[in-house]
């Protein structure tokens, strides 16, 4: 149960109205906030897409580099094998030549 003093307090603290433009200002700020949020979402997506593209490009480049290195290694190996085969053939031909000359 409130006494007179408390009722006086209620009266002193009765609700006041904000300025007449308050509602429009808040609604404007809400629209601005939504626009900023959409812009920041778009920025976030653009950054994410750019990051994914960079990762994909780097992966493709790395893969191509690895492929090239593997092919070069295979080529070098084949060359070494060919050189060895030629060397063996050359030695054999030399021996045969020496035997033919000895007959």
């Amino acid at each position: 149960m409130m006494d007179d003093f408390e009722k006086q307090l209620q009266e002193a603290l009765s609700r006041k109205e904000p300025s007449p433009f308050f509602e429009a200002r808040v609604l404007g700020a809400v629209k601005r906030q939504a626009r900023e949020r959409r812009a920041s979402m778009r920025m976030w997506w653009a950054t994410a897409v750019a990051a994914v593209l960079i990762v994909v490009a780097v992966s493709v480049w790395q893969h191509q580099r690895n492929e090239q290195a593997r092919e070069e290694a295979t080529g070098r190996e084949a060359k070494a094998r060919l050189e060895l085969a030629l060397k063996i053939t050359s030695v054999k031909l030399q021996k045969i030549s020496q035997k033919v000359e000895g007959i």
């Binding site: 307090l9 002193a12 609700r15 904000p18 808040v26």
Partner: protein
């Protein structure tokens, strides 16, 4: 007799025919939020700034609220906390000792009662938490339990703030009325 979900839904549609929108909530609660901040800060532009901030925060999570009562409680709670934060951040509102509060002159807003202005000044000179407790109690007619829940403090503390603030205000008012007489 218990009501079915459909009947309750129908009743709610009858009681509240318009769907709840942010604009309708803003319209119906703006004076409540503004007044909490205004009586606390005693500064109209600052109170509007705080109130706008509260409504922007409400807009961000508007879909989470299920009832008007929930929204009203949340608004009171956030308006209270934001007002206290505002004063703490600004620190420009120098602490006024309750004994230093001047007796207001009789010329002012014509419709504003002399005693009301004096009371608002005295409430404005209370420390932050007791001041907000008094505003929620006498502006919003909240029970101590509701204030405790909104202000995240024990009910005991709320009751103690109320009792002490009331006693102090009564004494100051009696004294100042004596001075005027």
């Amino acid at each position: 007799m218990t009501k079915t979900g459909q009947e309750i839904g129908e009743q709610q549609r009858v009681d509240n025919p318009e769907p709840r929108t942010f604009a309708s909530v803003l319209r119906s609660h703006q004076s409540m939020v503004f007044s909490i901040a205004y009586h606390f800060l005693r500064d109209r532009p600052a109170a509007e700034e705080v109130a706008q901030d509260v409504f922007l925060q409400l807009h961000k999570r508007f879909e989470e609220f299920e009832s008007d009562a929930h929204i009203a409680f949340w608004l009171r709670k956030v308006a209270g906390h934001r007002s206290i934060d505002y004063v703490r951040k600004r620190k420009s509102q120098a602490a006024v000792d309750i004994d230093d509060v001047p007796v207001p002159s009789v010329d002012g807003e014509p419709e504003d009662h002399f005693l009301n202005r004096r009371l608002r000044l005295l409430i404005g000179s209370l420390p932050e938490k007791p001041r907000m407790v008094m505003i929620l109690r006498y502006q919003e007619d909240m029970r101590p339990e509701e204030i405790a829940s909104a202000m995240d403090m024990p009910v005991r503390t709320v009751k103690s703030h109320l009792q002490r603030s009331l006693a102090m205000l009564r004494e100051k008012i009696d004294r100042s009325m004596g001075d005027v007489r």
